[in-house]
Amino acid sequence: MTTTKTILRSDELSCPTCVDNIESNLNNTEGVSAAKVHFNTGRIEVEHDPETVSDEKLVKVIAQSGYEARVSQF
């Protein structure tokens, strides 16, 4: 399994408790090996296997947690 790191950004994080929510939703997704949500900047780092989980799927998982996010180049 080859993992890549994808950076997503969300402008919607408003209470630090949502960090745990998004992180565990991502971590429970198959193909995601690590997820870190930075509350202060709204940056979401995901290490995942692009074969199993696409970038679009990541966006969808975050949307299911209730937040809008998009993929960023750095």
């Binding site: 402008d11 919607e12 994080l13 408003s14 209470c15 630090p16 408790t17 745990d20 929510n21 565990s24 939703n25 429970n28 930075h38 509350f39 202060n40 900047t41 709204g42 940056r43 949307a63 299911q64 947690s65 209730g66 937040y67 809008e68 960023s72 180049q73 750095f74």
Partner: protein, 644 residues
């Protein structure tokens, strides 16, 4: 899913629930129908509560209890005991607060977004005369990139042809455009104002200086300040504590409404957000001015600085030596029948600051020419100053060249034999140095110049005064620092005493430590700290690394283009703008007091809410309102830092 987009869904639910609540009050006012009032409030609670309960459920599925769960329990309990209006107000206010917070928080993240958007997505590359547009990230090192006037530069690189002026404010914060020509370095994200240039790419995508700045700023914003860590520890037991209190008070008083009201104020929202909001905004605002602060902790330290140690070379001065005077002998009048020996003793000093090279007498030109020939193969920093001054393009390289480190150099070109170096060196070589010129040399040395003598075919031609000149803003900066309450300002330099003192006097610095080694710089900083000072060390980021590290705050100047400085300095100033030093300290202390205000707002709110709840003057709706207001107050107060 009802509505796919989370934000839109939240907004629509808010509008619907808000309308239901208003209708309920209108109906109650005109018809006083308790039944329809309660029915409308129930609907409003369910509408807004749907979103909250969904999040609570999501949290539970991931084995997390969250604030949404507490609010859901409170609202459900409220419905159960029949306080419909309270339940509706709690859910509506919670959703509204969350929506407003998200909107304002995204505003505070704007500064960074502006920086990210500075980098264009595509680049025009030129290969064998063909132009193709490719994603900027995919530009490889060595590719030639065309940048048209008015467009942004997509990569870091070196100008290969063309000349232009470039707005580098994204990197340096400097509003005045910089002139660029062949050989100049350019950065991704800067704006090409008026000329067409071809750039040889050196870095692209995540490796560019801009990307590094963005990463740096983000890491800084994410790093928790000590205050934030303390608050988060407090917050982590606050919520369970409130829940426990709620259960305990129910068991003691059997007052369900009191217990539910406690749950409503169980979110430490204003507390947890108080520090991060100020840190994000303060660091973001500083970044926009070309000041990179490494994180909240450094912000706190920088706000408390009472003493400053400054490096001289490259900080107070430009770091590039230039020729300031030329001492030469006059021989023109010697031809007019006066005793040549005597006239030869006549010494002239030409100051280059008020006279340019063009009007330099031929004797001076000759001296500069021979010095340049000898220095043309030398790598000594002073050589560069001499070669810059001697603008003739045909400087032949010497046939033989020997460098005596710290003394001088000798060079042979055909029949010409040249010595350039210190007085002692030329004496050793058997050159006689007259009293007249010796006096002039000593004068210049006292003024802080480095003086090199030039001899051609065993005859002294004269001398060249070289100095690293002070930056124009140095005096203004030092006095601003003193105004801002810095008690002790010391200059540390490896340079000789006279040179150091000349600069210190001009800059208004009284404490000078000259001729010291890098370890000594360290000792001086430790001594300042032992006296109880909070010390900031300011240097160019490379030579001063140990001193920068042992100071409470290490500030590196001119960091654009030097990765080491961006990575290691506590505060990196992207440009050479000296006034950014007091500005960085000012922003830090402003941010610090903003944090303190926010913590006070948050703590006072918590205390007031608890008192209000137990004295019975605050119920569910009021509790939620005060709570949300305090969160907004903290966010808006933090946002003030954008404009200071």
């Amino acid at each position: 899913m009802l509505l796919r987009n989370a934000t839109t869904r939240k907004k629509e639910l808010l509008i619907v629930s808000g309308l239901l609540i208003t209708t309920g009050w209108v109906v109650d006012f005109f018809w006083t129908s308790a039944w329809s009032f309660n029915a409308l409030m129930l609907l409003a609670t369910l509408t807004a509560g749907f979103e909250i309960a969904r999040r609570a459920w999501q949290g539970l599925r991931n084995r997390h209890t969250n604030i949404e769960l507490l609010v859901t329990i409170a609202a459900t309990g409220g419905l159960a005991i029949g306080v419909y209006w309270e339940a509706a107000a709690v859910t509506f206010l919670f959703l509204l607060g969350g929506w407003l917070e998200a909107r304002t928080m995204s505003k505070t993240r704007d500064t960074l977004r502006e920086l990210i958007n500075m980098a264009p997505d595509t680049a025009i590359i030129v290969e064998d005369g063909d132009r193709t547009e490719i994603p900027a990230r995919q530009v490889k090192e060595g590719m030639q990139v065309l940048v048209k006037p008015g467009s942004k530069i997509p990569v870091d690189g070196i100008v290969e042809s063309g000349a232009t002026s470039i707005d580098e404010s994204a990197i340096t914060g400097e509003p005045i455009p910089a002139e660029k020509q062949t050989g100049s370095e350019v950065y991704a994200g800067t704006i090409n104002k008026n000329g067409r240039i071809y750039v040889r790419a050196t870095k692209s995508g995540a490796d560019t200086t801009l990307a590094k700045i963005i990463r740096r700023v983000e890491e800084a914003q994410e790093e928790k300040a000590p205050t934030q860590r303390f608050i988060e520890r407090f917050a982590s037991w606050y919520t369970p504590g409130i829940v426990g209190l709620s259960i305990a008070s129910y068991l003691f008083t059997w007052n369900l409404e009191l217990a539910l009201t406690l749950l409503v104020i169980g979110c430490p929202g204003a507390l947890v957000i108080s520090t991060p909001i100020s840190v994000i905004t303060g660091i973001g605002n500083a970044a926009k001015k070309g000041i990179l602060i490494k994180g909240g902790e450094y912000l706190e330290n920088a706000g408390k600085v009472t003493a400053i140690a400054l490096d001289k070379t490259g900080t107070l001065t430009a770091g590039k030596p230039s020729v300031t005077e030329i001492i030469h002998f006059s021989k023109a009048t010697a031809l007019a029948g006066v005793d040549p020996e005597e006239e030869f003793q006549k010494v002239h000093t030409v100051s280059l600051s008020d006279q340019n090279t063009k009007s330099l007498p031929s004797e001076g030109e000759e001296l500069l020419y021979w010095a340049a020939v000898a220095e043309s193969v030398s790598e000594h920093p002073l050589a560069e100053a001499i070669l810059t001054e001697e603008q003739s393009s045909r400087i032949p390289e010497p046939d033989q060249f020997e460098s005596h480190t710290g003394q001088g150099i000798e060079a042979v070109l055909g029949d010409d034999h040249i010595f350039v170096g210190k007085t002692e060196f030329l004496k050793q070589k058997g050159i006689s140095i007259s009293e007249g010129i010796n006096k002039e040399i000593q004068n210049l040395t006292k003024k802080g110049r480095t003086v090199v003598l030039v001899a051609h075919n065993n005859k002294l031609l004269g001398a060249i005064g070289i100095a690293d000149q002070m930056r124009p803003d140095a005096l203004k900066m030092i006095s601003r620092l003193r105004e801002n309450g810095i008690e002790r300002i010391a200059m540390l330099t490896g340079d000789a005493q006279p040179t150091a003192e000349a600069i210190a006097e001009k800059a208004g610095i009284t404490e000078v430590h000259a001729g010291i080694l890098p370890e000594d710089k360290n000792d001086i900083i430790l001594e300042m700290q032992q006296q109880g000072h909070q010390v900031a060390m300011i240097g160019d980021g490379i030579n001063d690394a140990p001193a920068l590290a042992s100071a409470d705050i290490g500030i590196a100047m001119g960091a654009a283009g030097t990765d080491v400085a961006i990575e290691t300095a506590d505060i990196a100033l992207m440009s050479d703008e000296l006034m950014n030093i007091p500005e960085a300290l000012r922003l830090s202390s402003k941010t610090m007091s903003n944090i303190r205000q926010n913590v006070v707002i948050a703590l006072v709110t918590v205390a007031a809410l608890l008192t209000g709840v137990f004295t019975g003057s605050i119920h569910m709706a009021g509790g939620m309102l005060v709570h949300e207001l305090s969160v907004m107050a903290v966010i808006l107060n933090g946002m003030r830092l954008r404009w200071i």
